[in-house]
């Protein structure tokens, strides 16, 4: 009982520090990658000077995240005169909390047996093992969609309660856009559920550690390349980033639904957006890129096509799986930032047309074809 509690606390601590870490690092990656892409030097002004010396630590501008955080904490927390002060204050939290909660069902590693990592741990944990996932629920992907639906309410609440026409327009756009793309997102995942025959995310990852056609890793992107593309596009639109950042288009709406927010309240909206990049990365990794496993790898070790197997000690497997998951997530995040600095912004009517007349029929077609193939293979 105590062991379960300790494991849960450790996992939750790990998840929160990973998400916060990604949120902070990504603000820097976004600037630095933009600089690299447009052949500039990029963020390099913030530094820490070692006291009483002239030694300045720049570290490629990594301290910019710290400077941002300090600025948000120290700035004036402006309070507009609104119709509903309570809704205004609660909105940033309604946006921020569900983004963190989504990570609860994402498996970030295989099974861990503490006693096999270090002998003395057996006194507390026995020889029990735990899946490296905060909440191993059978509902899996449904929980992800349930929580991500809550952020829409937060964005609309923020825009409505600000008593500002720009905010209201932004909230209007955010609402319609997120509802439209959430539908596409759900439809693309349905195809995967048909292929794997489960909604449990950990079972999906285990399914992906085998091979297809004898040599390809059985990743979701191999089964459903089309759905993977649609999923990533819809997820970026759901996160309201360029080229889909119409709800906060600065040349039209100042900052859209969070125009009237300042200091750390605005910081929460920004932070939620950056953490959601990491969440999209984690979801895409879990659904399409084989999750925490390297190709041909499972909890026992490697089993290469052709029959060669490599057994690995438990500690090495755990470390490899944790590192693989983080690396894959980071690559997907970096790819999202690549898209953000490559494509120009849509017009608003184009965003909704794109969702309903282009992506929605494609997602439906993908689902129908997948269903037919699964039925045909099954028969």
């Amino acid at each position: 009982m105590i062991a379960d509690l300790v494991i849960a606390v450790v996992f939750i601590g790990y998840a929160i520090s990973v998400l916060m870490g990604f949120g902070t690092i990504l603000t820097w990656v976004e600037r630095k990658q933009a600089a690299v892409m447009s052949d500039r030097i990029g963020a390099n002004r913030a530094y820490i000077r070692i006291p009483f010396t002239q030694v300045k630590l720049v570290w490629w501008g990594l301290f910019h995240g710290m400077a941002d955080g300090l600025k948000m904490l120290l700035k004036e927390d402006f309070k507009p005169r609104t119709y509903d002060w309570y809704a205004y204050a609660v909105a940033p939290w309604v946006v921020f909390t569900p983004v963190l909660l989504v990570f609860a069902v994402i498996p970030f590693g295989g099974t861990i047996t503490p006693a096999r990592l270090w002998e003395p741990l057996a006194a507390v944990f026995g020889d029990k093992s735990w899946p490296m996932q905060i909440a191993p629920l059978d509902a899996g992907i449904l929980i992800v969609f349930a929580f991500s639906g809550l952020t829409i309410i937060g964005a609309m609440l923020a825009g409505w309660s600000s008593s500002n026409k720009f905010s209201l327009l932004g909230a209007l756009r955010a609402g319609s856009q997120m509802i439209s793309y959430e539908l596409v997102l759900g439809l693309t995942v349905l195809g995967l559920i048909l292929v794997y025959g489960t909604v449990d995310l950990d079972a999906m990852v285990r399914h992906q550690s085998g091979t297809v056609l004898g040599f390809l890793p059985a990743w979701g992107i191999v089964y459903q390349p089309f759905a993977a593309t649609l999923f990533l596009a819809a997820a970026i639109a759901e996160n309201k980033r360029i080229p889909f950042d119409l709800p906060e288009a600065e040349s039209e709406l100042i900052a859209g639904y969070f125009t009237e927010y300042s200091a750390m309240k605005m910081g929460l909206f920004m932070f939620a957006e950056f953490i959601e990049i990491a969440i999209i990365g984690a979801l895409f990794t879990t659904l399409f890129l084989g999750g925490y496993n390297l190709p041909f790898m499972s909890d026992a070790g490697f089993a290469f096509p052709g029959g060669a197997t490599v057994a690995m000690p438990h500690g090495a497997v755990v470390v490899t799986q944790l590192a693989t998951f983080l690396l894959k997530v980071f690559v997907v995040c970096s790819f999202q930032i690549l898209i953000r600095w490559t494509l120009p912004r849509f017009r608003y009517d184009q965003v909704l047309t794109f969702a309903w007349k282009f992506m929605f029929p494609l997602a439906l077609a993908n689902l129908v074809v997948t269903a037919l193939v699964v039925w045909w293979v099954g028969a």
Binding site: L5, Y83, A139, L150, I152, I153, L157, V199
Partner: protein
């Protein structure tokens, strides 16, 4: 410590149930439309927590996904667009105070009767395994699909009725 952990589930269940009850009461008492909607959202989320603690995770997910993610999003959207700030929100009691009280008394009676008669327990398999998504889907698509379709027809009728009521009021205003 271990006694506390053993009863943690029950404790959380009571906490969630209590919060759901308070938000439901707030939904009835509050007068501003957006706050009523927010109280309803939190009630739905806490009810989802209650389902989750009873072991029906996917029902919890459906509860939040359908009621909050779909129904309440559209309600908030409509409230945001219409932005109703009429004066009646400032009045202490609604015009329908007495029908409300009678309705509440009837509801309390129904709940009390339901409590004294033993409530049905969550369905479990022969070996005591929890009611998971596969079993739910089979039961839903083999036994209850007709009930489900009938409910959707009833809901459509309710929407048409609501439209008729609104039209009646409008005619009254113009006349």
């Amino acid at each position: 410590m271990s006694a506390f952990l053993a009863h943690l589930d029950t404790l959380l269940l009571w906490a969630f149930a209590g919060c759901a009850f308070v938000s439901a009461a707030l939904m009835l008492v509050l007068r501003q439309p957006m706050r009523v909607a927010m109280a309803l959202v939190s009630c739905m989320v806490f009810l989802g927590g209650v389902y989750g603690l009873l072991g029906l995770h996917f029902i919890a997910a459906f509860q939040v996904l359908i009621y909050v993610g779909a129904v309440m999003v559209f309600m908030v959207y409509a409230i945001m667009l219409l932005d109703p700030r009429d004066e009646s929100a400032g009045e202490k009691y609604s015009k329908l105070l007495w029908p409300g009280i009678i309705g509440f008394a009837l509801l309390a009676e129904a709940l009390a009767v339901g409590y004294w008669n033993d409530l049905p327990h969550a369905p479990r398999g022969a070996a005591g395994e929890p009611f998971d998504l596969a079993r739910f889907s089979q039961a839903f698509l083999s036994e209850y699909w007709l009930h489900f379709e009938l409910t959707s027809v009833l809901l459509l009728a309710a929407v048409v009725a609501a439209l008729a009521v609104i039209k009646e009021n409008r005619r009254h205003d113009h006349g």
